[in-house]
Symmetry: C2
Subunit: 324 residues, 2 copies
């Protein structure tokens, strides 16, 4: 009745942007990500008789009511699957710097799904585990797998085909992902709210959907053939498109800040100097910079010279779910 | 055979972005602008017998070959209209700081059209003059009129209905337009090239066109009713949409730099403090900030505190063509 799992977070190369079902976390479009080696969540779940309520300990602290509710409601889905009504103690160690603009919910719900399913002996396939994790947080379905991962949007209303699969294992292609933290104010619009407003009001959302299959295809091909420049070009263009859709929303909004722009400019400068380096940006001010391992040091130093850059953490492709 | 005219430059509130005819400068969409009081071109044109070639003196210097060619080819259009084959001496004093991101071509071709037409006694109506100026540079057609001006895109293939008209004279509504120059590198993509690439490749261009009539309508209503906040909201949203379309182009491009973003953030801060203030951005890194005259000093000071801001020049609505 007890199990412990570790899941790494992931960074989207082709972005998940917009839900077609808010409740089941079904996306409007497919996405592709890299599971990273440095930011993770380790979660232990123990179902217990005579436990009156679920208990959630996050980084050795009793969680807030709001954090707890998300987790407990997610456990309800798993309890329904297994037919149990036992409560659980969930102990999470979260090593995702939320300031870095990484969604800790991806590794969080991936680890929770894996640990809870194992504790209840559910014997889920990886695909089933991926679909389950998705119901906690969309991008969590990708963190089940290591390396390069694609989340197919699926067609079914129940979401059973909206699951991830691995495109290439982490040890087959090493690239460097530099997570660049810039001086910035707190973001005012959550990504959940941002995608909702975009889907509902932006005249550019149709254009986003129209080009996503081509972007997915290019990224897939680039990953399979390990063509870094091809991958970088489509990754950067896709991120710019995602951010463009928000600029058309009513009211418009944007996550970029002056430090974001500084990093984008520096990446362009480095590229003009002949270094293959590209950026991507999620729903926040920070930037993730992709380069080849042989250029990692040079790129790292060039980023640290920028006045707005506070910290740069270098990651590489990492593993999927592991049980401890 | 000689005449001198002065034209002010203008700043687009609802942007001209995309041509449907490259040669006749026919736009894909209508636009609305304010003619400004501080940046202008004064041009004298004298047609002379026995002059072997056109001569163009810009700010007391013989112009470059490229600048000259644009002007001489434009004079050919006027010569054809009037049936003359005389060459001319064109003397221009250009007081548009190109570093401010204002298109000196707007005031330049407006002044040139007016002076040349008068020198040849063409007796053009303002509409005809507007259509003529448009053939030198699209936005020049708006600088014929003072104050708040709309350029109707028109439907005809010959462009005769693609002309501007005045919505509200300059002395009927005074607002402040602060031209903010930020530290920036030279822009790499001309607006002409930028709009062409956007029209041809951006999946967002359709969304731009779909919402332009609503934006024009809102801006028109706001100007007629002198509703500053209504005007500001649509102006800012329209500028963001124009810049969004470029982010979707192949390859993507953008004019914003870190200083641009700094000013955008500061405008949002001021607004959160209760000051009605809005920005607009053309095809460059600089920002134009709109506010009410009573807030001008406060806004000016808040902008000058920003590290990237090099200079702020305050303008107000100005006159159309005047003959000297």
């Amino acid at each position: 009745m007890k199990a412990t799992a570790k899941a790494n977070t992931n960074i989207a190369l082709i972005k998940y942007w917009g839900k077609r079902d808010e409740k089941l976390f079904l996306p409007m479009n497919g996405s592709i990500s890299i599971t990273l080696d440095r930011f993770y969540t380790i979660t232990a779940v123990e179902f217990k008789r005579d436990l009156q309520k679920d208990v959630f300990l996050l980084n050795n602290q009793l969680s807030s009511e709001a954090e707890g509710q998300k987790v407990f409601r997610f456990l309800d889905i798993i309890r329904e699957l297994s037919g149990t009504d036992l409560n659980a103690v969930i102990t999470s160690e979260n090593r995702v710097p939320t300031a870095a603009g990484f969604a800790s919910s991806a590794s969080g719900f991936a680890a929770l799904s894996a640990a809870a399913a194992k504790a209840l002996n559910l014997e889920l396939s990886e695909k089933e585990l991926s679909a389950l994790a998705r119901r906690g947080s969309g991008s969590a379905c990708r963190s089940i797998y290591g390396g390069y991962v694609e989340w197919q949007k699926g067609e079914r209303a129940d979401g059973k085909d909206s699951v991830a699969h691995q495109l290439l294992p982490e040890d087959r292609w090493n690239i460097s992902i530099l997570s660049v933290m810039v001086a910035s104010k707190q973001k005012k619009i959550s990504s959940r709210e941002g995608m909702k407003r975009t889907v509902e009001t932006s005249p550019f959302y149709t254009g986003w959907l129209q080009t996503i299959d081509t972007d997915l295809q290019k990224a897939r091909e680039a990953i399979i053939s390990k063509d870094f420049e091809k991958l970088g070009r489509v990754v950067e263009a896709n991120a710019l498109k995602m951010h463009a859709t928000m600029l058309g929303a009513t009211p418009p909004f944007f996550y970029w800040q002056s430090g974001t722009m500084e990093v984008m400019e520096q990446v362009q400068n480095l590229r003009e100097d002949g270094i293959p380096v590209y950026f991507t940006i999620d729903a926040g001010a920070n930037v993730k910079v992709l380069c080849l391992p042989e250029d990692e040091q040079k790129v790292y130093e060039a980023l640290l010279t920028l006045p707005s850059v506070k910290e740069v953490i270098t990651c590489h492709p990492g593993a999927g779910i592991t049980y401890l």
